[in-house]
Amino acid sequence: MRVIFKKSYEADIRLFKDGVQAFWYLLLLVIAVILPFLINEYWVGEFSLMLIWAIAGMGLMLLVGHTGQASLGHAAFMAVGAYSNVIMQNNFNIPFILSLPLSGILAGLVGACIALPTRKLHGIYMAIATIAIGVLAEDLIVILEPWTGGVGGIFAPSIKLFGLDFDRYNNVSGLYWLILAITVLIVLGYKNILRSPLGRSFAAVRDSEISAQAMGVNIGKTRTLSFAISCAITGISGALMGHFSYVFTNETFNIVISINLLLMIVVGGVGFIHGAFLGAMVVTFLPSGISFTRDAFFSDFHIIPGIESGIFGLILIVVILFEPMGLYGRWLKFKTYFDLFPFYRKDMFRRQKTYLKTERTR
């Protein structure tokens, strides 16, 4: 077990606990960068998709895991990002380097406008309101046909940046690196939020609104801000998804995607940035895993309808029942077991009893 001897306040503020941890994350980054040289183009594409899902997952994680708000309509904000990004490029000739952040900001603003009237809602009511947003977004895309192409869909141009062409089909590795760079930036921003007063005010709102207020946290403002940042991140992932899938319609961002996003962060581990990535891996690689397994067992082309959703649902149930902390929670337990060997106790991660709370004045 490593014991970190803290000598200054810096030790609690810096990004990595110590050099060893920094080394492992650096190694991970190096592997991620050289990945296109190690695997074929199909898998590079799959990893790009995984990173896009991870960005969307981080967006939702900030809202669900760190501010304690539910959202079952986050695909709507992916749609806002995807459509606004392509419309800006096609109709207004705004280059990708501007349209991507602008589409994120736009999604954030839309999120803030929606958060303002819904910020007094809690729990199940918040979930219902956000489902409604998800359903409305799908219809709005069809209604706004002159802009969005309606059910026929819209084609995303290939990304041009600094004279380079990041085409989805001709430059798979280039697109992967671009997405990787954006992912790293968002992870850094997320980490900065968590270690600053903003992240602590989010956690305060999550754990006890009443005492957050007594500490001087403006609940409405904090919840709106969290929703806006969450939507902005999700919007950026939507914009990237648009470029990645080349053509997209109202069906691309339907309610199933919202539920998939939620499933992703629950399976990955609510409340951890790592959770978004682990969940994204499950969501991305499971379909390929299922089809490879199917091909191995059935020589003829055999389609079992609904098998993917079925297996996703089963995984979700198993995770909620046996590992509420998700895959990352499982990893933490595994790590702690070896760190403390042989002193690990079975109940170490067990949720302690919560004492009575003051809910009357809410």
């Binding site: 900065n192 007063p197 602590r200 956690a203 754990d207 009443i210 207020q213 500490m215 004045t361």
Partner: protein, 258 residues
């Protein structure tokens, strides 16, 4: 000009009058206690001061400012900190993070600079941490600094909550039953801390407490309440021996009734 002044404050929940025409003044630098049986309206007065409840009438002046014009999240920046009867800590966060949340009113950085974690944000974090460390030293919480609240025993949580209120650097501290559920030794610690808070830190304390030993040992003045009405006010001894207070707590013996 008194420090905190409540005048004719009344709060009704439907037909129930929880606080009935209460007036009192707290002077700067004193420990003022509210006592009374359950349902007397003590915690309700605290929730009015925190602006969680809106009184039907009356006025509250704190430090020359009209408190009723402020919203509940603005109360802390006026310099009023509070603890809760049922501990209200941020459970999925460490003790250190809990105390740092209390520095919210002293925050000068904005959301954008925090996302970029500019050097100014870092400098501010150091400053907040220094203040929080002083509170940790004062309350002997060093051993729990990085522990999560969800794993802490009740007594420690109680102290962390006191620490979180102190980290605001308030002028007025509202303590809602600081000793409930604590052992005799822990209650004595609380008594010492309240003394120090008053004398060393110069913070005015308004306290609700059932433990009469604690109230007697630390309070300068006591006000007794029952059914939302004021029964008696004065020194701890005066209030303890006041016939109306004895009646409210113990009832009247048949001999006296005649």
């Amino acid at each position: 000009m008194s420090f905190l002044k409540l005048k004719d404050v009344t709060l009704q929940f439907g037909g129930v009058t929880a606080v009935d025409n209460i007036s009192f003044e707290v002077e700067e630098g004193e420990v003022f206690s509210l006592v009374g049986p359950n349902g007397a309206g003590k915690s309700t007065i605290f929730n009015i001061l925190s602006r969680f409840y809106k009184p039907n009438n009356g006025e509250i002046i704190f430090d020359g400012k009209n408190l009723l014009e402020k919203q509940s999240h603005e109360v802390a920046s006026l310099g009023i900190a509070r603890t809760f009867q049922n501990i209200e800590l941020f459970e999925q966060a460490s003790v250190l993070q809990n105390l740092l949340v209390a520095r919210q009113t002293h925050r000068t950085s904005n959301a954008l600079s925090e996302m970029l974690f500019l050097p100014s944000v870092k400098k501010e974090e150091y400053r907040h941490r220094l203040k929080v460390e002083k509170v940790i030293d004062f309350l002997d919480l060093q051993a729990y600094r990085e522990k999560f609240i969800s794993g802490l025993p009740y007594g420690v949580r109680k102290i962390v909550e006191l620490g979180r209120a102190l980290a605001i650097e308030p002028k007025l501290l509202l303590l809602d039953e600081p000793a409930s559920g604590l052992s005799v030794e822990e209650t004595q610690d609380v008594a010492f801390w309240i003394e120090d808070i008053k004398k060393v830190m110069g913070i005015t304390v308004l306290m609700v407490e059932h433990d009469m030993n604690l109230v007697t040992s630390v309070s300068d003045r006591v006000m007794a309440l029952a059914d939302g009405k004021k029964l008696a006010m004065g020194s701890p001894e005066e209030v303890k021996n006041h016939p109306a207070v004895i009646e409210a707590y113990l009832g009247v013996s048949e001999e006296f009734e005649k």
